[in-house]
Symmetry: C2
Subunit: 197 residues, 2 copies
């Protein structure tokens, strides 16, 4: 795992990444305002390796998660190219972060939702991708990527997935928990999965 | 539903609500920095009304969700009183937002997770609360609350819950989808629930 040290937090008077906006509006005739951040729409992908029967996650050092620093997350990508379909952005995310080259046809949309509605509110779309060792073409750019994403690709065996999902000592995002349970509900006829929730 | 108009978005040079911080750190010997926002830890509560067999959600106008404006969310509360246990903060949230007075013993912790790890990264803890019409003591402060939360309490019948969860034309947060499916997996022996996912 990465060595993280010399952590120092300071107020930030002007950020290139975080630009607050203020929205003025009227609600039932009363003038109001609300401050928020613009963030990109994004895709997240639950990757299941059918050869090793493992889920493929990305373990990242997240400076914003100041309590523990490390979180387990789904492979993800920002929707920063408006001309590309979400499936193609998801496909590139799987390749770049985790090193699997899968055809778009292997991606299945699960659903979409809003994230962080108080501060950001960006739309996120969740996909499911089945990969095999034959699709593995590299270690994943995430393992040696440029900033800001520098994750470590980790595998969670299928039979440990539900225990992992509910183990609160492992910091993780909601889509990890949700997608494991979605898999349990929708794929368990196809793949044997432990049900000791 | 509320009347929302005169929406105007402007850059925000100084916000009382959003204060960016910058963290400096070393990763494998390389000096780096990352800008983030501090946000409060929070609790969310899946409320199930055992009298009407409905889930109780809060429909809110969220200025940050600039695409549609309205989202369906779980009842929630900020952990802004460090001396109170999370269960008590959840109990107060259920009372203040949705008007149900339930004892802490009726609250069951489902799990906790990290939200918005890129920008904020705050911990959120998810609870399940069973309420009945007997617990209903008011309309919920959310219906006529002071800023910033001004939601409308809405009920989703149990038999429509899974269709609601996966209907992407209804903007909602991930904990709504997750908790409906959690209920489906964990409470379906107790309550009949539609399985047409």
């Amino acid at each position: 795992m990465d060595q993280i040290n010399n952590i120092q937090v300071v107020p930030c008077t002007s950020s290139n990444h975080l630009k607050p906006f203020r929205v003025h509006y009227s609600q039932n005739g009363t003038k109001k305002s609300w401050d928020f951040m613009r963030t990109h729409e994004s895709v997240s992908i639950l990757i299941f390796n059918t050869t090793s029967h493992c889920f493929v996650l990305v373990k990242q050092f997240r400076p914003a998660v100041y309590v523990s620093g490390v979180t387990y997350e789904l492979c993800a990508g920002l929707v920063d190219k408006p001309d590309l379909p979400l499936e193609e952005i998801a496909r590139q995310g799987v390749l770049q972060e985790c090193g699997y080259d899968v055809p778009v046809a292997k991606l299945r949309k699960i659903t979409s939702y809003r994230s962080g509605v108080g501060v950001t509110g960006a739309k996120q779309t969740l996909f499911y991708a089945e990969v095999s060792e034959e699709n593995h073409v590299g270690v994943g750019v995430a393992e040696g990527a440029a900033e800001p994403r520098e994750g470590e690709v980790v595998k969670v065996p299928l039979h440990e997935a539900m225990t992992f999902a509910y183990d609160e000592s492992i910091p993780k995002t909601m889509p990890v928990i949700f997608s494991f349970i979605w898999f349990h509900s929708n794929m368990s006829p196809k793949y044997k999965i432990s049900t000791n929730v």
